[in-house]
Symmetry: C2
Subunit: 330 residues, 2 copies
């Protein structure tokens, strides 16, 4: 099948770009030094390619991602790097046959893990991003509470989400050192083998973590592309030109095909004006015609993929595979 036969908008994954990204990362962070985050692609078929390179332990953000990975036989070592208060849902996970570890940062989330029969946890530590995670000085107490409740505490996690996207590498490095000092301090109080942290923007800088939770490196987006990392933008949204005026051109992909939290998408050799629900208004340098196809580069990969049912793997204009985005929803 050719890309010209696809209904648009459609997510395309450049096969060679993806393979190169997975290879580069697996060489930099072999085996369980990387714990690929599936939230960026929500696709077990893509995760199979990560596991085939030896990166067999995975990070998830939702119970649905954990369940899907377990069902797909990718449950060797799954970390739910997020707090879940729903013991019923966690209970189903605990019985999934996968090795399940969940993040906890409070007495309530520890209690939910205990009620659910989840065997293993990480103490989630706040390392500067105003989101989940306990205070570093509170990590020891929570670990004690967890162990006292019968849970195995594998160590700590702490996501430096306020740092991974900073464009200047030296700023990223300096802030990372400060952030990880807090995680190491917490780990001293908690013990265990695991210090889980990191993302695509710090994959080669975070030497404090024992494992890196990078996800975006596989497909990439224009936000991460600004960092000069050795990963190609493998993901685009194929779109059809549907209207042409003297000064602007309209293609059929918009707010329901592209996440906007990181701003407008990009189009090569064109200035993007704005997106509407089902439209992209842009000004190309060379005129386009109704029916022409363009490839749009999303600003943020994760919530863009979450809008789509399929990833179409392409070699140039040849569609070589179609993967379900099977980890959507909650």
């Amino acid at each position: 099948m050719r890309t010209s036969q696809l209904t648009t908008p459609a997510l395309l994954v450049d096969a060679a770009g993806l393979e190169a990204n997975l290879d580069t990362m697996a060489q930099a962070l072999p085996g369980t030094r990387l714990r690929p985050h599936v939230k960026a692609h929500k696709c077990t078929a893509l995760a199979v390619h990560q596991a085939a390179r030896g990166n067999t332990a995975f990070t998830c953000a939702t119970a649905a991602e954990m369940e899907g990975m377990a069902r797909a036989g990718l449950g060797e070592d799954l970390l739910l790097a997020n707090e879940v208060a729903d013991a019923t849902r966690l209970g189903a996970l605990a019985r999934s046959g996968a090795r399940v570890t969940v993040a906890v940062d409070s007495e309530e989330t520890i209690a939910a893990a205990v009620r659910a029969g989840v065997p293993e946890v990480l103490i989630d530590v706040n390392v500067g991003l105003p989101r989940c995670g306990c205070l570093p000085e509170d990590a020891g107490r929570l670990a004690e509470r967890a162990r006292g409740s019968g849970l195995a505490v594998r160590g700590v996690m702490g996501y430096e989400g306020h740092i991974v996207g900073l464009e200047d590498r030296s700023t990223r490095t300096a802030m990372l050192e400060e952030s990880m000092a807090q995680l190491v301090r917490a780990h001293d109080l908690v013990g265990g083998d695991v210090i889980s942290a990191g993302g695509t923007g710090t994959y080669d800088l975070n030497t404090w973590a024992t494992e890196i939770q990078a996800g975006s490196y596989a497909l990439m987006d224009t936000a991460y592309a600004k960092l000069g990392l050795p990963f190609a933008q493998a993901l685009t949204v194929l779109s059809t030109v549907i209207s042409v005026s003297d000064t602007w051109t309209v293609a059929d992909c918009g707010l329901k095909a592209l996440a906007m939290d990181h701003g407008n998408p990009s189009v090569a050799d064109a200035e993007v004006w704005f997106c509407s629900d089902e439209h992209l208004t842009f000004a190309p340098q060379a005129p386009l015609r109704v029916g022409d196809r363009i490839r749009v580069l999303p600003a943020h990969v994760d919530p863009t993929v979450a809008y789509h049912e399929h990833l179409h793997v392409v070699d140039g204009d040849e569609v070589v595979d179609r993967w379900d985005v099977d980890l959507r929803g909650w």
Copy 2:
């Protein structure tokens, strides 16, 4: 079932709010004076409630919406208010058994309609929003071309998308007059019974149009709420508090549950800080606890609904129905 039993994040529709919104609009614009736009809710079960009030002709933005409405038996008079270059897809629509009218704004889209066997079209006219639509002075030529190719031209459409969201009513009124003057000029050249235009923000102002394409009024969002319209915010995202610190609180809905193109969502009695993929960081006035449920008000209804599989219809904390968001995708 109670809302406390729902997996979060989950879309909730307040039954009373929805009913009131549909009633108010059906009274203001009875029968085919309204052509409800399904792109705002993407849900045939909701469309059934609109049709039951006499608003039986519908507007769609995608071929998938048209197909779904036809399958659901809601095909009495469906307008695809968007340009489609894909004659194969249009062909399937033309054979769906529904009354199908499509927007055209170029020789290419007219040719696609002809190849597809679509019987009826509207000439789409640009009325100020830099998106689809021909120049008003070109509408007559296109109508002639369409009729010469065997198509029935029902009239014109022109969406004043640059006006519908303006907060000041007098500005909205003044700009609308100018915008609709162009559409009326085009209609003079085209002929036909239909002048299709309008949205929720101009539903009671646009007296030039013969039918109004409003959609957001059914569920509403915080952007439209600023206009002081007689429609309630019936849509919320139910979310669970998963982490609490001294200064902020985190709930489990984020960029994959809420569209961000109109900015952050809102939470009553709280200041919203930011959203991450699966998190909302906010500061409530009164402390919340892990496990508490909150209702988050989306900034933009259309691309928020497109992230979800279901609408849960609620009466207070009682879930009275679950509707599929069955018009997603393309």
